[in-house]
Symmetry: C2
Subunit: 350 residues, 2 copies
């Protein structure tokens, strides 16, 4: 099958980004939305008109709005394939099973495309480039699966097969649980004296960064996936209760921290491989324009590949600490190179 | 007073770094340690011999080792001032009050100097440059306070006055609690399927980053500060229990996430000012050497100041998403500049 006309129901960031990406590949795109202004803006951005019959309908609405469009879209396009892009899959399958739409014509999918939010005006054709895009092809007609896979390929996504129940458990663990834990921690800062918060370092900033996320988006994801989240939160609650009871016991606290180290080590590094062992190289720079550029010029000169980095600032001061994550060999090379060029390089650590 | 000879008891990272920094400023330094190899290495690194009488003794041992050195150091140097550098202050004050050392001659301090660990060989003279260094001068003789302040100034630290009880509550909140929460979250990853962890994004990586920290160091800090930590953990436990009970209630979940946003917004930005409103500019780059350098060259060309950044990789793919945090004006300038030079810039978001 070759997609010639795709209808996208829902003209927010994801729907419009899909439309933009498809238009670039010459696929005809029709945008729609319950908000006609949003649909009009999206269609204006995308253009790509066509009179070909609709091959594929993509539901890009919030999960809660799905049941209001499933029946009408199926009745209007009885020959088309259907897919969705929701963050929680089991609930979507239930919605479809109680609609007029035949489950065999519906492919549940989830593009894991960054954390940007904000409507059609924020959409980008390259939003899915290199991002994982999960599909659950179980029991779905081959032509619909094929259309979904073609869509993912056209948009540069990275297809991953996962059944809906596993998907929901996986995202509960790697995405929804961290979200709630970050909010939980950040909430504890509410009553504190400002002077105390001025002492915050990179640790507090990193652990609470995602607590700033959109509450409208997340309340829907959390409630829709409460079944997969609940056992995880209860497990965390059990561990927390045990910790509180033994907070003065060095053995228990030590075992607890080591259990966390082991869990942390299971998170894969770059490129989805096993967690890589990076070497961390701390460098003190002056906090002014051009310093980062100069530093990365040195990295390029030394032909090393920076895998990750953090920037840390001290309160009231104008120097910054950059920590680069590198392979062990690159760290040695770069440290020598930087030192010989007068940079303030600290000892690498692993 | 001008420091002429400082004795440092404890030749680990902090003690040796203090010694290196003081030696650079011409102060005589004597290193000691219960491990004579460590003391020898530190003294070799530092040199800076002197025959002047000891003005100041710095306790740079783990808190648990303090009571074995307080009496002997006081008896050997009855005219000197004394300070310590421990991460928890109330417990140290109790140790001193039950020793022969007069509390008026002892200044409790805490240099908040990064997260590097690893003995004398990791020490750097510039470790304290621009870092907050807390002192509790209450009831301490003026000459001892003066010596402590001179020490901090010589090492380039940023002196902050805070009584010990407040200090312990502050670091419990901004440092020890995030540490335990990160371990708590990371511990939940232990039993998960590897395929699920392959879907992890920057959110999980950031929230668990500090869970990799040293358990020997942290078990001592946590148990020593259990009194300040306990109410914080119980408050978190209460919030968690309430959340679990209402996980399907959109109103409750939404309020919870908004409470987290408010807490998060209280963390100050760079330079200890009020939390700054950054604009975030996402840029897709090829994941190969030289790309970051090229990007920061563009930042320098456009004369913008990068306040913070994150790097995100997709599993199995060789493109990366860089998100730069900038002032709003700089984000607009840079986005235009990069686009006109062919970079793949996404829409900025705040």
């Amino acid at each position: 099958m070759t997609l010639s006309h795709v209808k996208i129901v829902g003209s927010g960031l994801i729907g419009t980004s899909i439309g933009l990406g498809l238009a670039l590949k010459g696929v005809g795109v029709t945008m729609s939305d319950s908000d006609s202004r949003a649909a009009g803006l999206a269609q204006d951005l995308i253009k790509s008109p066509t009179s070909a019959p609709i091959d594929l309908v993509i539901f890009a609405t919030p999960i809660g709005a799905l049941n209001s469009v499933l029946d009408s879209e199926f009745l209007a396009n009885p020959k088309a394939g259907f897919i969705d892009i929701g963050s929680v899959k089991s609930k979507v399958k239930v919605e479809v099973s109680t609609s007029k739409l035949d489950s065999k014509r519906f492919l549940p999918t989830h593009p894991m495309a960054g954390r940007e939010v904000g409507g059609a005006e924020s959409a980008r054709a390259d939003l899915f480039q290199g991002r994982p895009w999960i599909i659950d092809a179980q029991g779905v007609d081959a032509d619909v699966v094929e259309a979904g896979v073609e869509l993912i390929e056209l948009l540069g996504g990275h297809k991953i097969d996962l059944d809906s129940a596993s998907h929901d458990k996986a995202v509960a663990l790697v995405s929804h649980l961290p979200q709630l834990v970050a909010s939980l921690l950040a909430k504890q800062l509410s009553g504190a004296e400002q002077g105390w918060l001025d002492l915050a370092g990179a640790g507090l900033r990193d652990t609470t960064r995602i607590a700033g996320s959109d509450s409208k988006l997340w309340r829907e994801i959390i409630t829709a996936n409460s079944k997969a989240l609940s056992p995880l939160l209860k497990s965390l609650q059990g561990d927390l209760t045990a910790l509180i009871a033994s907070l003065e016991d060095e053995e228990v606290v030590s075992d607890f921290i080591e259990a966390g180290q082991k869990g942390r080590a299971r998170i894969p590094g770059k490129h989805g491989g096993k967690a890589r062992e990076y070497t961390y190289l701390p460098i003190v720079i002056e906090d002014k324009p051009g310093q980062l550029a100069a530093l990365f010029d040195e990295c390029a000169d030394a032909s090393v590949n920076v895998e990750d980095l953090t920037i840390e600032h001290s309160p009231g001061q104008f120097t910054g600490l950059i920590t680069l994550a590198l392979s062990k060999a690159d760290a040695v090379t770069l440290a020598e190179h930087l030192r010989s060029n007068g940079w303030s390089v600290h000892s690498p650590r692993s």
